[in-house]
Amino acid sequence: MYRIRFHGRGGQGMKTASRILGTAFFLEGYEVQDAPRYGAERRGAPIFAYVRADHAAINERGIIQHPDLVIVADDSLVPVAGAGVVTGIDAHTVLLINSDEPPELWKQRLNFAGQVFTLPVETEDRAELRFIGATCSGAAARLLGVITRASLSQAITEELQALGDAVVDKNLAKALTAYDLMEAHRGCVGTSSKVSATDYQNPAWVNLPFDDARIAAPAIHAAATSVQVNTGLWRTLRPVIDYELCNKCWWICSSFCPDGAIDVDDKGVPHIDYDHCKGCMVCVAQCPPHAIASVPEQEAQAQDAAGEVT
């Protein structure tokens, strides 16, 4: 059985990518399961999808713990614990990452013995992000080695038909380019054996004893606990205020920030809360003196690490 796990951010088309790959497998005569995992299915939030394919009936259910192939649409997710990109991978697993950094560097960073392939990040224009899904599914199809160009094309056409010919054509072009790019590595993803029900390992869940309703009922007895959730991890672009240009007209960025993540101090100076800024860039678009720059998050983090920015 093939077990494939997709990781991306909401809006990058990972759910669609899993559907494309699932349909392509089906066209090749496989039994297929494909399902996104429902959680924070929001723009920018970590998204998961799973595909299983086998020539026999698939009785396995639920999330994939030990994938044969992991597809990562956004390399900034790799260090995010909540995204679980590296969960359950071993030397047998193939990792496909959309990243400008070389595979060797990822192998070293992750201390990973399996194979790593990268797909170059084509653009920083967010309008292009929606095609990452097609690119990933094309590359994955070739790495699997059991999906023909014809089946991949047909799957994309079927899945995206409703969006019109222009969208189908653009996705086809992206997917087939990625398919050809992985030609040298065709068939490098292997299958793994079925797990018998008797060997089934319980997921690492927490057993809660049966409690009195006053204790067990989910009531929250504290204010604004949501601040403990670090939604700043969703960000791919970081808004950075140039305080020399800021004219302290604070109501603009502070009122418009959908998350209320910009507060203004008593001197009228706005401060962005990077633990919670999701990187929507509304402040960048609205700032009257254009005092807020849009910096790719990875670049900003690298600068942070180098101590260049505070």
Partner: protein, 308 residues
């Protein structure tokens, strides 16, 4: 304009500079509904009970996290106003029995999306207004069932593409006039707001807060996910909704409707449509002049008789 003598919000500088609603919520980046809600919450304050019908914003409070500083209660999609009745009654009994002091009383606020407000919950809302329930209703209107993948709702505009209205003409129905449906019940107050006009919003919420009886607010909520545009355009699109006349800012009180912001020179509706993926089929692959003109004509006819 709203009578400025009555409000503490005279200038943009009077708007709050720090915010009460907690960050770290699971709403999408660029959510126009959350933008309106955090502005509203700053004014209503923490002495409030939110009764939240199923929708995107039910995800605001997922155990053990909540952005609210006051109370919050979850109800099924159609029954938030019924939940509000129960909470209001309970508070009234506690007050009557002197088990809580008058200053411990709380504002009862219904929070629903357009799916509940325009459709499933309309009957229970009608009932609450009929009983003259003392509550505030906030509808964040993103013109579709956004939390489940943007299926069309009673609030979806004509010609918009949703996951259940595809094809070259989009949604065949028309957006319900919920403002008029609500106003026909003659409640204490009905108003439309949008997060991209924070001063107009603050004045209206402040006004509503100081009234009793049913106070009904509809906030248009630009939705990057459901309307298909880059999150950074959220405010531009909201402003265009007002400047094109698509989203009239108005209020109903004492049997009269007053427009609080009449766009001086209305921009063509096309400018609003063109920047959203859900209307892309009106421009690509061929421009659909007939449908664009029809949408413009509808807006023109709305404003024909509106004067200061």
């Amino acid at each position: 304009m709203t009578d400025t003598a009555e409000t503490i919000f005279k200038r943009l500088r009077d708007l709050p500079s720090t915010h009460l609603l907690g960050t770290g919520t699971p709403m999408c980046a660029g959510c126009g509904g959350l933008q309106a809600l955090h502005q509203i919450y700053d004014i209503i304050g923490e002495k409030s009970v939110f009764i939240n019908a199923a929708g995107c914003m039910t995800l605001l409070s997922v155990f053990p996290f909540t952005p609210f500083r006051g109370s919050w209660l979850y109800t099924a999609m159609a029954s938030a106003p019924a939940g509000a009745q129960g909470v209001r009654d309970a508070l009234d009994i506690l007050l009557q029995q002197q088990r809580i002091a008058a200053e411990e009383d709380m504002e009862v606020v219904v929070l629903t999306g357009d799916g509940a407000a325009y459709g499933m919950g309309l009957s229970s809302t009608s009932g609450a207004m009929e009983r003259d329930l003392d509550f505030l209703y906030i509808c964040y209107d993103n013109e579709g069932y956004g939390n489940t993948g943007q299926q069309y709702s009673g609030a979806t505009p004509h010609a918009a593409l949703t996951s259940t209205s595809k094809g070259p003409r989009g949604f065949s129905g028309f957006k319900k006039d919920l403002f008029s449906i609500w106003a026909a019940h003659e409640p204490a107050y009905v108003a439309t707001v949008i997060g991209t006009e924070p001063l107009d919003l603050a004045r209206k919420i402040d006004k509503a807060r100081n009234m009793t009886g049913p106070r009904m607010i509809i906030a248009l909520a630009p939705c990057p996910t459901g309307w298909d545009y880059d999150p950074k355009q959220s405010v531009d699109i909201g402003k265009l909704a007002v400047r094109t006349g698509i989203w009239p800012l108005k209020e109903y009180e004492n049997g009269k409707v007053v427009h609080t912001k009449i766009p001086k020179q209305r921009k063509p509706v096309e400018e609003y449509l063109q920047c959203q993926g859900r209307f892309r089929h009106l421009f690509e692959p061929q421009r659909n002049d007939e449908l664009i003109d029809a949408l413009q004509a509808k807006v023109d006819s709305y404003w024909r008789d509106i004067t200061e």
